[in-house]
């Protein structure tokens, strides 16, 4: 092995021995550092995974949803509207949607009634979301009676429960046939809640929305990308709120870590003096101490990040869930798809590992550039 490699090996050996010699101090630093990374990474991973999940769900949504407005409020789509817009150039598909909210006083929760586009539900039956099934103790083959807003009681058989994988989007969902929907809500015939439009060319979406606004001035076209943006900002906002709440704790941790990292003990100063006096170069000492700080911060970063990953993707982030997910009676149970944003990881790395290394290196450099003759006088 070349002398250069041997020298690096000796430096690493000495660094590891030095870490082991101050076990308590270094373990303390490692724990504090890892906790800091854990808290930040958990919030980042969770919010990013939620954003990603919302994105995935919305990818299947129609490009444009058209709503009718009366006095600025959402109103029903009257008959004839679908026919007026279905011939518009660039519009691939148009269909009227039927959906509405229902408050169930039994569990004090809101349900979303929806008629699937293919109207595949048999009259007298329901397909329900998993959270609703849990809450009301329902399973395929059982039945449920719901009192409509008009006061009439309707009984439905449960045909199926939607799969767990879709729970984030379907926790409170009831899929119902068109006939049952209209009867249950006393919904006027040929009226729809809104209109979904599919557009083949994504570049045309805005143009078509403009045309729709001109053609139907009393309506409001809502673009999918706008909804995606809204969701993203909701999760960004929640992440921000959480980071703000955590900031005091983070700051306390940061000060502790900085103090621990930047303060050289008398023993360490003495050690640096001895190494210089016996022929170690300033560069060797800085390198050795750099490796010491780098090892601690890298291990802590890895431990903190892996712990955050497990916390978010295997345990569903129990520590941050209430803040980041939002509140609901029918709380969706779901396992987030593990998604990691490289830029976020790099940012976290940059704002944790680099300041730590700087905090360790500055006092080392100061100690290492002092004259080695000091050791003769101690």
């Amino acid at each position: 092995m070349s002398p250069w490699f041997e020298k690096q090996r000796h430096l690493i050996d000495f660094t590891l021995a030095s870490l082991a010699r101050r076990k308590g101090r270094h373990l303390g630093l490692l724990v504090v550092f890892a906790l800091l990374v854990f808290a930040l990474a958990s919030a980042m991973l969770f919010a990013h995974a939620l954003r990603h999940e919302a994105q995935q769900i919305l990818d299947g949504a129609p490009e444009i949803v058209l709503q009718k407005l009366v006095a600025g409020r959402h109103d029903l789509i009257p008959p004839g509207t679908i026919e007026r817009i279905s011939g518009m150039r660039g519009v691939q598909q148009v269909h009227g949607r039927l959906w509405g909210y229902y408050y169930d006083p039994v569990v004090k929760a809101n349900y979303t009634f929806l008629v699937p586009p293919d109207n595949s539900i048999q009259p007298g039956t329901l397909v329900i979301g998993p959270a609703l099934a849990r809450q009301r103790g329902l399973a395929p083959g059982t039945g449920i009676s719901l009192r409509s807003y008009s006061g009439a009681l309707y009984s439905f058989a449960i045909a199926a429960v939607l799969p767990q994988a879709s729970e984030l989007a379907s926790a409170d969902l009831l899929l119902v046939s068109e006939a049952d929907f209209r009867a249950f809500f006393s919904y006027p015939a040929d009226h729809y809640t809104d209109i979904a439009l599919s557009v083949a060319n994504p570049a045309e979406v805005r143009n078509i929305a403009n045309k729709l606004a001109k053609l139907l001035p009393d309506s409001r076209p809502i673009l999918r990308e706008e909804i995606q943006r809204t969701y993203a900002s909701i999760f960004d906002w929640r992440e921000g709120i959480m980071l703000a709440l955590l900031s005091a704790a983070i700051l306390a941790f940061a000060i502790l870590a900085w103090d621990k990292a930047s303060g050289l003990s008398a023993d360490e100063k003495r050690e640096i003096g001895i190494l210089k006096a016996i022929g170690w170069e300033t560069g060797d000492i800085i390198k050795m101490k750099f490796w010491e700080g780098a090892l601690i911060s890298l291990i802590a970063f890895l431990v903190g990040f892996i712990a955050a990953y497990v916390h978010v993707f295997h345990f569903g982030a129990p520590l941050f869930e209430p803040v980041l997910k939002g509140w609901s009676v029918l709380y969706p149970r779901f396992v987030l798809t593990p998604v990691i944003d490289g830029l976020q990881v790099a940012t976290l790395f940059f704002f944790t590992v680099f300041p730590f290394l700087a905090a360790t290196l500055v006092p080392i450099w100061r100690a290492a550039v002092t004259d080695p003759d000091a050791v003769m006088r101690t």
């Binding site: 002398p3 020298k7 006096a277 300033t282 050791v375 003769m376």
Partner: protein, 265 residues
């Protein structure tokens, strides 16, 4: 003959009277450095001054103009009371510090103005240090402490262990090789410090008050080791005011100092 001439010339130049001079047996062993003849001037100091906190209210001149030649393969002792400047002089000789003014030459090469990196290189290759407080690194074994100065040289690990083991054996410390520095007695710590000073096989061994922290028995033990170095022709420069050291037969030359100056005798 040439060596003797050099020696006398240096004495004349420095104006230093040597208390006990080259008349003592030098205990020459096999020559370690082919270019170093006994008594040849190895280290030269010309009007060396050293100030601390220069330009500040607490400015202090530790050395006020030292001119001195130190010979190779000799044991030289710097003697003087506390504050006489002997440790400061030792740090300048050992390249641990640079003089404020004046010149320090090693084998005729002026080293007083060299940048720190080169001084470190010279220090590592040429000098081995035994500090007054021994300055071993706590938490590390005796063997690891001995190997430390050789780490920056990039020598193979096995070679270092062999060399360190040989030194510990020579200093009768094999049984303590794995003991941590803080578990060693004062005498053992000093012997480990000596082994550490020798790991890079330096031309010059520098010892600052080597017996200051030892009882009489251990001090005598150190003197025995010192005699061994003298016998094998190693250059040793030490500071001491311990009569056991400065009056020992192992010391070839004693230089008296007071108030940052050499004392004329």
């Amino acid at each position: 003959m040439l060596a003797t001439l050099d020696y006398h010339r240096s004495r004349l130049a420095s104006g230093v009277t040597v208390a006990r001079s080259a008349s003592r047996p030098s205990g020459l062993g096999a020559a370690r450095r082919p270019d170093c003849t006994v008594g040849a001037s190895m280290i030269e100091l010309r009007d060396v001054k050293k100030a601390f906190n220069q330009g500040q209210h607490n400015e202090y001149w530790a050395l006020s103009g030292i001119t001195l030649n130190l010979e190779a393969k000799r044991v030289t002792a710097l003697r003087g009371p506390s504050g006489s400047g002997k440790t400061t002089l030792l740090t300048l000789i050992g390249c641990l510090a640079r003089p404020t003014s004046g010149r320090v030459s090693l084998h005729g090469r002026d080293i007083s103005g060299l940048p720190e990196r080169f001084l470190t290189e010279i220090r590592r290759q040429t000098f081995g240090f035994v500090f007054q407080q021994f300055n071993l690194i706590r938490g590390m074994s005796a063997l690891e402490n001995v190997m430390l100065p050789a780490f920056p040289t990039g020598r193979a690990h096995r070679e270092l262990v062999e060399r360190a083991d040989a030194l510990l054996e020579r200093l009768r410390l094999t049984h303590r090789r794995d003991a941590r520095a803080e578990w060693l007695s004062g005498g053992e710590q000093q012997r480990v410090a000596i082994a550490r000073a020798l790991i890079n096989d330096p031309e010059v061994l520098i010892a600052d008050e080597p017996t200051a922290n030892l009882d009489t028995a251990l001090a005598k033990e150190f003197m025995a080791i010192l005699e061994g170095f003298g016998a094998e022709g190693r250059t040793v420069i030490l500071t001491s005011h311990d009569p056991l050291v400065v009056e020992s037969a192992a010391v070839h030359r004693v230089i008296d100092m007071r108030d940052g100056l050499l004392v004329e005798q």
